[in-house]
């Protein structure tokens, strides 16, 4: 179960609205390498993960991703609050506005809706951990791309925090992969799938 904590993991305080950049940043809410997909990926994968360290890591990083999703939503919300019709027409935000007004809805920057096909839950620890490490790097690249477009320091600051967390999570998943491989046959890591085949515990 989860309890809500009434604060953001890192503060978001944006003074100036910018609906144009909001349409780019929303991709980290509902896009292919966004925080919603990240959270759903880890929280789905953990049930078939046979090792306690990795179950813990998937649970705790999957939880932190929900807090990141909340930060992204706060950024988009603050960038689009109190918009006038003129402003949203001028910025190209009118296409989002017509379907969602100023509400948050999980979509990519292209407008493609969020989908579970953005992630995999394969039921093989080595496969899932490689997916997780790749996901963290893809999200890091997305934040690097966002940072090239953002000029406002009040927006850059929380985005930089989120980018750094991708690197820490990549490190933790790398350790999970090492721990997993240490429990398997070093002559052939793929001899069995420890989440499916019964195998002697090393």
């Amino acid at each position: 179960m989860w309890n809500y904590e009434k604060r953001l993991q890192y503060p978001v305080k944006i003074t100036h609205t910018n609906p144009k950049i909001a349409q780019v940043i929303i991709t980290q809410f509902g896009g292919p390498d966004g925080e919603l997909a990240a959270s759903m990926r880890y929280l789905s994968q953990r049930y078939s993960m046979p090792y306690k360290e990795v179950m813990g890591t998937l649970t705790d990083i999957g939880t932190e991703e929900l807090a990141h999703m909340e930060m992204i939503c706060a950024i988009v919300h603050q960038l689009t609050r109190n918009l006038s019709v003129e402003e949203l027409e001028r910025s190209g935000f009118d296409k989002y506005y017509v379907d969602h007004t100023l509400a948050l809805w999980p979509q990519a920057a292209s407008g493609a809706p969020w989908t579970a096909t953005y992630f995999q839950s394969k039921g093989d620890p080595i496969t899932d951990l490689h997916e997780d490490m790749a996901a963290e790097q893809k999200a890091r690249t997305t934040y690097d791309n966002i940072l090239r477009l953002v000029k406002d320091p009040e927006v850059c600051d929380p985005i930089r925090f989120l980018r750094e967390r991708e690197i820490v999570h990549y490190q933790r998943f790398g350790e999970c992969l090492r721990l997993t491989q240490e429990k398997l046959d070093s002559r052939n890591f793929y001899a069995v799938n420890p989440a499916f085949d019964s195998c002697p515990v090393k």
Binding site: K6, R7, T57, A74
Partner: protein, 89 residues
């Protein structure tokens, strides 16, 4: 009795700092469960986090379920702004 009311902004910043330490060390401990140095670090900052959350709830309303004790006749949880709003975080 005069009470020394802490600055809201400073207390929230402090909660964010100690909570981040706890969050980050927690992830490290997931893959290094026997690391004594990390365990000590976790224990120290977790204590400070609990204290700071209690202090915040006393003056500015609860941030967590466990500090949502309220002596007033009104449910304070919905009273203060939410974190995505102005003045909320």
């Amino acid at each position: 009795m005069m009470e020394n009311k802490p600055c809201r902004r400073e207390l929230m910043d402090w909660i964010n700092v100690v909570s981040f330490v706890v969050d980050d060390v927690k992830l490290f401990l997931d893959t290094h469960p026997g690391c004594e140095e990390a365990l000590e670090y976790f224990e120290e900052f977790q204590k400070q986090r609990v204290e700071a959350l209690k202090e915040y709830a006393k003056y500015y309303g609860p941030l967590t379920l466990d500090t949502a004790y309220t002596p007033e006749e009104y449910w304070c949880w919905i009273q203060e702004p939410w974190p995505w709003q102005e003045g909320g975080c």
